[in-house]
Every structure is written in structure tokens, then in C-alpha cells.
């Protein structure tokens, strides 16, 4: 009995240690100069985000996801409730030592160049000069701005600004990374790289919170999501669980001849299966684009292989649309 209680306590403590972000009854109402309520941006929200997960805040514009992020960062103050990050109040500056934040539009100093930018933010974390230099160089290389590191940010394209924004968010090797619309302004390659980076961060044990209205991006990388609408939490859970369509079974088979379809259909009908469909799965447009780019880079001057194969391809294009038997 005693051992059981101790176990429970340990489990609870470990649970608490694992909770990186916690919102308790967190709400935000914007007020005018006279203190009158102007807009309810976030209705009371309860949320827990655990160590090592990628958590997505989803919702249309004005749904309260950025407000939630700002509350977690201490950029704005809650009207009620509290936001805890690493067990500390969100307005506690010391929590920022372990946080990396990429704002919606990489709000950086345009008069600095990439190196100066990372050096500046590195200084804010109190990194020693050699370490600042080492991390700065590595991050600039990672985000592919090697050749442009001496240009002032005001000369950067939106994608480049986004990249340097990511680099500054990682300068302190943070445990928790908050990304506001991380793929906004990025081309498909940049988007993929960003998603790979997010997954890489997770593999390195980091916790990632991202907010986006690009559902495909969220679906690709997030472990759990919260769906907000009109400042209210509408859905919360694991992506796989939320997207699972119960009552429908999907079978994927490689190299099955068409002749086998009838036998399988008969077998399935015998077991009471309804609305049986056979077809070829489609890839995503993103996959297609990346394959084209990769192929073109591998064989410059030629038309991409998959496109050259054309309508005969079984993996691409409208010809791959599922067929209903």
C-alpha cells in the first residue's frame, strides 16, 4: 500500500517534470484605454504540453492561437488564469534562457547582417565570444545563408528573413521552441526543410509548439494539436487519433495484380464489408515538386523524369486518382 502511494507520487512528480507548458484557465480580453472590454481574444484555456512533443495550435485567422503563444511568452499579460513555462510564470524572464521563439514575420533588426544578428542574440544569452561565433556559423550554414551572411537583413527576401529568424530562435540551443507560422513565406523546399528541422528538433529531445493555419504542415509534423476557433478550444488530442476514421479499414498492398481484386472483394463482402474501393494511392503535390527539383538538379537541362514519363505514371498526377470499381 505504502509502496503504491510512493510510486504514485513519483509518477506524479515525473509527470510534473515532463510538463513543459501549462495553461490554467488562461484567458485574454483586450481592453480600451478606459478599461472597457474590446475583444475577447482567448476564452479560458486549459492546456498541458509535455517534453519532447510537437504540439500544434491550429485555427483560422483571429482564432486566438497567436494570442496563446504571446501569453506563453509573456509578451502580453493574461486577463485571468495563468501560463506556466517550465513551471514558472510566463512573465518570468529567466524562463527565456531555455526558449527559442520564431515570430510570425521574423521581426529582426534590418540594419544588421546575418552574422551581426546572431551575434547580438547570442550576446543576449550571455554566450562567450567563441561559442557565439561557432553557433552562429553553424546556424548560418544550416539555414543556407552562407553566401549572404554579410548582407543587411533589409536586403533579404522573405524566405531568407525567415531562415535567419529560425537561426536566431535556435542560437541558445533551446529546450522549447515556439514557432509562429513557421512555413509562412517559404517555398516548398524551404517548407520541407522547416518540417525536417522541426522533426529533427523533436528527435533531439526538444519540445516544439507551432501555430499555423496550414493544416498539411501541422498534420505532417505534429504529435498533438489543439484546434482553436473564436478564442475557444474546440479540439485537443493526438493527430493520429483525431484524424482516425473509425469503422473504415484501409489495406495497402504492393504488387497486387488486378485479377486478385475480385477475389478480395468477394472475401470482404463475405465478412460484411461495404463500400469497398480499390485504387492507387496518390502522393502529395509537395512530394511531386521536391522530386522534380531533385531530379532537375541531378540532371540539369533535362525534363524531370517523372514528368517525362507523363500520364503513364502510376504514382503521379490526375491519372492516379482512385478508381471506383
Amino acid at each position: 500500500m505504502h509502496a503504491g502511494t510512493s510510486e504514485k507520487k513519483d509518477s506524479h512528480a515525473s509527470n510534473l517534470r515532463d510538463v513543459v507548458v501549462e495553461a490554467r484557465n488562461l484567458s485574454k480580453t483586450y481592453r480600451d484605454f478606459w478599461g472597457r472590454s474590446k475583444k475577447v481574444a482567448l476564452k479560458p484555456l486549459d492546456l498541458e504540453i509535455r517534453r519532447g512533443e510537437i504540439f500544434g495550435l491550429l485555427g483560422p485567422n483571429g482564432s486566438g492561437k497567436t494570442t496563446t503563444l504571446k501569453l506563453l511568452l509573456g509578451l502580453i499579460f493574461p486577463t485571468s488564469g495563468e501560463a506556466l513555462v517550465f513551471g514558472r510564470d510566463a512573465t518570468d524572464v529567466s524562463k527565456n534562457e531555455r526558449i527559442g521563439y520564431l515570430p510570425e514575420e521574423s521581426y529582426l533588426y534590418k540594419f544588421l547582417d546575418a552574422e551581426e544578428t546572431l551575434d547580438f542574440y547570442g550576446r543576449l544569452f550571455g554566450l562567450p565570444p567563441q561559442e557565439r561565433k561557432r553557433r552562429g556559423d553553424a546556424l548560418i550554414k544550416m539555414v543556407g545563408l552562407d553566401r549572404d551572411k554579410k548582407r543587411q537583413l533589409k536586403e533579404y527576401s522573405k524566405g531568407m528573413t525567415r531562415r535567419i529568424g529560425v537561426a536566431q530562435a535556435l542560437i541558445n540551443d533551446p529546450e522549447l521552441v515556439l514557432l509562429d507560422e513557421p512555413t509562412s513565406g517559404l517555398d516548398p523546399i524551404g517548407t520541407r526543410e522547416m518540417k525536417d528541422l522541426i522533426i529533427d528538433l523533436k528527435q533531439r529531445g526538444k519540445t516544439v509548439i507551432l501555430c499555423s493555419h496550414l493544416l498539411a504542415d501541422v498534420e505532417d509534423v505534429c504529435d498533438r494539436i489543439a484546434v482553436l476557433h473564436q478564442g475557444e478550444l474546440k479540439e485537443l488530442g493526438r493527430v493520429a487519433d483525431l484524424l482516425r476514421v473509425t469503422g473504415v479499414t484501409q489495406i495497402r498492398v504492393n504488387g497486387l495484380p488486378t485479377q486478385a481484386h475480385d477475389e478480395i472483394r468477394a472475401l470482404l463482402t463475405r465478412y460484411g464489408g461495404e463500400d469497398i474501393e480499390f485504387g492507387n494511392p496518390t502522393t502529395t503535390l509537395e512530394e511531386l515538386f521536391l522530386e522534380v527539383v531533385r531530379d532537375t538538379e541531378a540532371r540539369p537541362g533535362r525534363r524531370a523524369r517523372s514528368i517525362a514519363v507523363g500520364a503513364g505514371s502510376q504514382t503521379n498526377g490526375p491519372a492516379d486518382a482512385p478508381r471506383h470499381d
Binding site: 478599461g35 509573456g74 509578451l75 524572464v93 544588421l112 547580438f120 543576449l124
Partner: protein, 613 residues
């Protein structure tokens, strides 16, 4: 130079002042906390409000403890980079243009060109430096908030205090560099501009012969340069100096072919101007008066001037001004007492307008009453008259006999001596103030004195920067600019505002005639002179009441806000006086006190603000 109040010793006031500062600071914290609680109470109820205020105070203390010099320096560097990338150095070009214009248009033939050049360059430097740092400081933070770059900064482990201090330091460094460059350029310009030489032609010099036919000296005049010439008076050995014109003299030496005492000079070497750019170290005394009947009096005569800085003594009577000097040591004044004086003249009749008014100076033993025979001089307006009281003095006794006495043995008693000034011409008056008579205890370096004066500008620049940054934490750029200017204006006219309020409350129009802002407007519109009393109609009474309410916050502000002109020490420099270290220390401490207050206010405002809302 006007010195209305004696400069107190730094050590005499710093202790009590610090205590008062701490007390006032604590009081303000309590008042702000109480106000914050009241405001929060209306929104969230008293308990939550109390909790928030308590947490706020704790967070503030935590912020103070967690301040990192490394982060502050990072933010300062950012402010410097921002300034440089925004081409702040262009202002140096503007300054160069001002120097050029000064070279073209300032009149080197004016009464005191040194004062003119110094005043102009110091004013231009001060204005430019303060203006640049003002613009940088008020627009920087609001621009960051508008561009949201601040969000990327505050999500790093950066405290609001560090952001405020970083900016204050960064822009102050920019201002300091600008000031150093402008100050150095200005100094070189002034020194080059006022420096000049004269020529002396042989035919402009006449020999003075003594009764026995020997050479008694040489008299003559210099060439006319820079709008003036000097009279020269050389000793038989050919050395001498010119008279004082335009606030300076020149040393002159006759060049002879053979023995200086027997040969006629063949040329004259004229030295650089002496007295134009000086740094006199005065030893000042305390002043008391004798009235026209010779009776002691604390005041002289008022000749009707509005400003009572100077008191007057009547000529041709027993009226006298007596200064008592303390701390006279023989080793410091081994060659006598170099007395310098600025004597104003008030004429009740024109007299011989070309000639000055004659007066006398005597020195007296304050204990035995033994006094020297008078030294006569002619007071010239706007120049410093100098008399050297020699070691050996003639004393006429009651019986009419004259004997020689030693200054330090017979006149100076326990380091103390009295100097008696009298005006000798009836119906004319001398105007003097305590600071107008002094013993020249030594000479400082003009360059160092100039640097001290630049230190005064530096204090002003620091204050402007701090006020600008403080306002920029919660106001938009243009509004912060206006608010800063308002603070500086109120500070600049604080004495006037204080008098105006006193006049409004007491109803005594003589304190500050013309009334408050609305009454002034009313007088302008109705073309009523400020010396006329307005009819006490209901409208006028209402105007006066409104003015009282308007003046109350201004009076409060005038009691709190800094006055930049009070930090300036250009008067000392232009007047040729060494800027006392006690004054610099006083101004430095005042600046530091304000800086700390503005820093705390700025950090508090930024912390209380939602930078992302």
C-alpha cells in the same frame, strides 16, 4: 560673470542630500504602488490587485538583481549600430558648416571676441549634441515596438531595465563621441580665431625722458588689427605690455641692436593675447557695506534696477564696500595680492563720458584696523580691473606721517584681510556684487577649463537621452519628443513658473506680472499691458481660477524637472574663470540623481507595458 549664490562645498551637502533622495525615492515607490493598486482594484478587485502589485514589486526587485552587464552592453552596441547605420555622423557635417559660418560671420572686432566665440561654439555644440541624442532616443524604442523587433528581444532573457539602460548607454556613447569631436574642433577653432598679433612701427613709439635726460621708458601704440589697437608702455629695459582692449593685453619686448638700456629699439616683438582665453582661479571673500555716513550696513543702495544682484555705493561719501578674505597664506601670495574686480558704474550725470569713474582700494587689518594708503584706479565697464597690492605698503598715520609696512606682517591677520572699495567722484555710483572682487589665487589651464565646460554639456546630453528613452517606453516617437521637450522647457523656466504660481496663489501681481497662460492670452487678445490690473469681472475671475489649476501641475513639474541651463558652466568659461570642482561635482550628482530616476521610471513603464498588444 554673475554668481548669485556661493557654490557650496560638495562634502557639506552630499550626505543629507543622499538621505533626502532615498526618502523621496521610497515615497514615490509607495505612491506609485498605491495608485497601481487602485487602478487594478477597479479591474480585478482589491485582492487580485494586491497580489499583482506585490508580484510586480517582487519582479522589479528580481529584475534589479538579475541585471546583466553583458546584456546591457549588447543592447548598447545595438543602439550604437542603429545610430551609425542611420547616418548619425551626418551631424558632424552640419557642425562643420556651422563652424564655417561662425568663421565668416562672427565679428572678431567685438568688445570681447573670446566670449563671443566661446558662447557661440558651446551653444552650437550643446544644441546639436542634445538634439541628435534626443531624436535617437525618442524614436528608437517606438520604432522597435512598431516593427515588432522588440518581441524577438524580450523573448530572450532580457529585462526591461536592461533594454532601457542599454539604450540610454548606447545613445549616450554616440552623444559622447559626437561631443568629443565637436568639442575638440570647437576648441581648435576658438583658439585659432581669437589668436592674433599686432605690429609696432618705430614711428608709433615715443621715448619718455626723465628730468636727468635718461630714458624713462617708451610709449606708443600698436597697429590696428581685428578692429582694435593697444597703447603700449615699456620700461627703460624695453619690456612691458599693452593696455587692455577687447578683454586682452599683449606682452611687448623691444628689440635693440645693443644694450637694451642705452640703445634705441629697432623693432618690437608683440606676444599672443593674454586674458582672452583664461582660467582664473579666484579666492572670493564676503561683502558688507558702509553707508554714506560710514555706518555699517548689510546692503548698498538700490539704483532702481529690477534685478538686485548688484548693490551700489555712492561716490564722494563715506560709503564703501568691504570684502573680507580668509585663508590668505604668504607662500601663495608671496609677491602681494593680485586683486581683480568687475565694477559697474551708475552715472547720475554724464560727466566726462570718455573717462571712467575714479575709485580707490585700500587694504586693512581686520583686527588692528591698520589700513594702507589708497590705490587709485579708473573703473571701466565690461572689463576686469586689476590692481596688484604689493608686499610693501605705505601707511599714513593720523599725524600725517607715512611709513612702510609689510603686507603679511602688519595687514594680514590670521590669514584674514579686508579690502575697502570707495567711489571717489560725487554723485556717481559703483555697482558691485560679492563675486565681483576676488584675489587671483592662480591660473588653470584653459584647455582643461574648456573640457570642464564640455562636461556640463555632457551632463545635459545624458539627461536629454534619459528623458527621451524614458518617454519612448510608453509613448509613440513624436509624442515622446514633445513630452521630452515639454519637460525640458518647464525645467528651463522653473524659477519663472514657481514665481508665476506664487503670484497666482497670493494674488500679488508684482511677483510675476501678466498672470497665467489663459490670462496672458486674454491680455494679448485685448491688448492689455501686463502692468495693468484687470477688472475683477466674473470672466476675469474664472480665467484666474483656470490659470491656477493649469499652473499647479506646472509648478509641481518645475519643482521636479531638471534645468539644463543650470548644468551649464559656459558662463565661467566665457568669463575666464576656472570652473570650480565643487560645482562640477554638484552638477554631476544632480545629473546622476535624475538619470537614476528616469531609468527606474522607464524600466517600470516598459515592464508594465504589453509590448505585443
Amino acid at each position: 560673470m554673475v554668481l548669485e549664490e556661493e557654490i557650496p562645498k560638495f562634502s557639506a551637502w552630499i550626505g543629507p542630500a543622499l538621505l533626502w533622495y532615498l526618502f523621496a525615492g521610497s515615497l514615490i515607490v509607495v505612491i506609485v504602488a498605491a495608485l497601481a493598486w487602485l487602478v487594478q482594484s477597479t479591474l480585478y478587485g482589491p485582492l487580485v490587485a494586491g497580489d499583482r502589485v506585490y508580484r510586480g514589486l517582487l519582479a522589479g526587485l528580481g529584475d534589479c538583481a538579475g541585471i546583466s552587464l553583458r546584456r546591457i552592453w549588447a543592447l548598447s552596441r545595438l543602439a550604437i549600430q542603429e545610430s551609425l547605420r542611420r547616418n548619425v555622423l551626418v551631424v558632424l557635417g552640419l557642425f562643420a558648416l556651422i563652424v564655417l559660418f561662425a568663421g565668416w560671420f562672427l565679428d572678431p572686432t567685438s568688445v570681447n571676441p573670446g566670449k563671443l566665440y566661446l558662447g557661440f561654439m558651446l551653444t552650437a555644440t550643446s544644441l546639436l549634441v542634445c538634439l541628435v541624442t534626443l531624436v535617437l532616443s525618442v524614436f528608437s524604442l517606438p520604432a522597435d515596438i512598431r516593427s515588432k523587433a522588440i518581441q524577438t528581444v524580450v523573448t530572450k532573457p532580457v529585462r526591461s531595465a536592461e533594454i532601457v539602460l542599454g539604450r540610454m548607454i548606447g545613445f549616450s556613447i554616440v552623444g559622447t563621441v559626437l561631443l568629443a569631436l565637436m568639442g575638440t574642433t570647437g576648441w581648435a577653432f576658438i583658439v585659432r580665431s581669437v589668436n592674433h598679433r599686432h605690429e609696432i612701427a618705430a614711428e608709433d613709439v615715443l621715448e619718455n625722458r626723465a628730468d636727468d635726460g635718461t630714458t624713462a621708458g617708451w610709449e606708443g601704440r600698436t597697429s590696428f588689427d581685428r578692429g582694435h589697437r593697444h597703447r603700449i608702455d615699456l620700461k627703460p629695459d624695453g619690456s612691458g605690455r599693452t593696455d587692455s582692449t577687447q578683454g586682452h593685453r599683449h606682452d611687448v619686448r623691444a628689440v635693440t641692436a645693443g644694450d637694451a638700456t642705452t640703445s634705441r629699439p629697432i623693432a618690437y616683438a608683440v606676444g599672443s593675447p593674454v586674458g582672452l582665453l583664461e582660467s582664473r582661479k579666484p579666492l572670493r571673500g564676503t561683502l558688507r557695506f558702509l553707508d554714506r555716513g560710514g555706518r555699517p550696513s548689510t546692503k548698498g543702495i538700490s539704483v532702481g534696477a529690477e534685478w538686485s544682484y548688484r548693490q551700489y555705493i555712492e561716490g564722494g561719501t563715506l560709503a564703501a564696500a568691504i570684502w573680507t578674505f580668509d585663508g590668505i597664506a604668504e607662500r601663495e601670495f608671496a609677491n602681494g595680492l593680485p586683486l581683480e574686480m568687475i565694477v559697474r558704474v551708475f552715472r547720475t550725470h554724464k560727466g566726462e563720458i570718455e573717462k571712467g569713474i575714479t575709485g580707490s582700494v585700500r587694504v586693512r587689518n581686520p583686527i588692528s584696523g591698520l589700513q594702507s594708503d589708497p590705490f587709485y584706479f579708473t573703473a571701466k565697464e565690461f572689463t576686469i580691473d586689476a590692481i596688484n597690492i604689493p608686499r610693501t605698503l605705505a601707511v599714513t598715520s593720523v599725524d600725517g606721517g607715512t611709513r612702510q609696512v609689510d603686507l603679511f606682517t602688519d595687514i594680514v591677520a590670521a590669514g584674514r584681510v579686508e579690502v575697502i572699495l570707495q567711489c571717489l567722484q560725487p554723485a556717481q555710483y559703483y555697482g558691485i556684487a560679492q563675486a565681483d572682487f576676488y584675489l587671483r589665487a592662480g591660473n588653470g589651464s584653459f584647455a582643461i577649463n574648456y573640457a570642464k565646460s564640455c562636461l556640463g554639456i555632457w551632463f545635459s546630453m545624458l539627461l536629454v537621452t534619459a528623458i527621451g528613452v524614458m518617454f519612448s517606453t510608453f509613448l509613440a516617437g513624436p509624442v515622446a519628443l514633445l513630452a521630452t521637450l515639454s519637460i525640458l522647457l518647464i525645467g528651463q523656466f522653473r524659477e519663472f513658473i514657481q514665481r508665476l504660481f506664487e503670484s497666482q496663489v497670493t494674488g500679488d501681481a508684482t511677483i510675476a506680472p501678466g498672470g497665467g497662460p489663459i490670462e496672458s492670452l486674454y491680455r494679448i487678445v485685448t491688448q492689455t499691458s501686463i502692468t495693468l490690473d484687470l477688472d475683477p469681472t466674473v470672466a476675469v475671475q474664472s480665467i484666474k481660477t483656470i490659470d491656477t489649476f493649469l499652473l499647479a501641475p506646472m509648478r509641481l513639474g518645475a519643482g521636479i524637472f531638471p534645468s539644463l541651463s543650470a548644468l551649464g558652466t559656459a558662463d565661467f568659461l566665457a568669463g575666464g574663470f576656472d570652473i570650480p570642482l565643487d560645482l562640477l561635482a554638484e552638477n554631476g550628482m544632480e545629473t546622476l540623481g535624475y538619470l537614476l530616476a528616469f531609468f527606474v521610471a522607464g524600466a517600470f513603464c516598459l515592464k508594465a507595458r504589453e509590448v505585443a498588444s
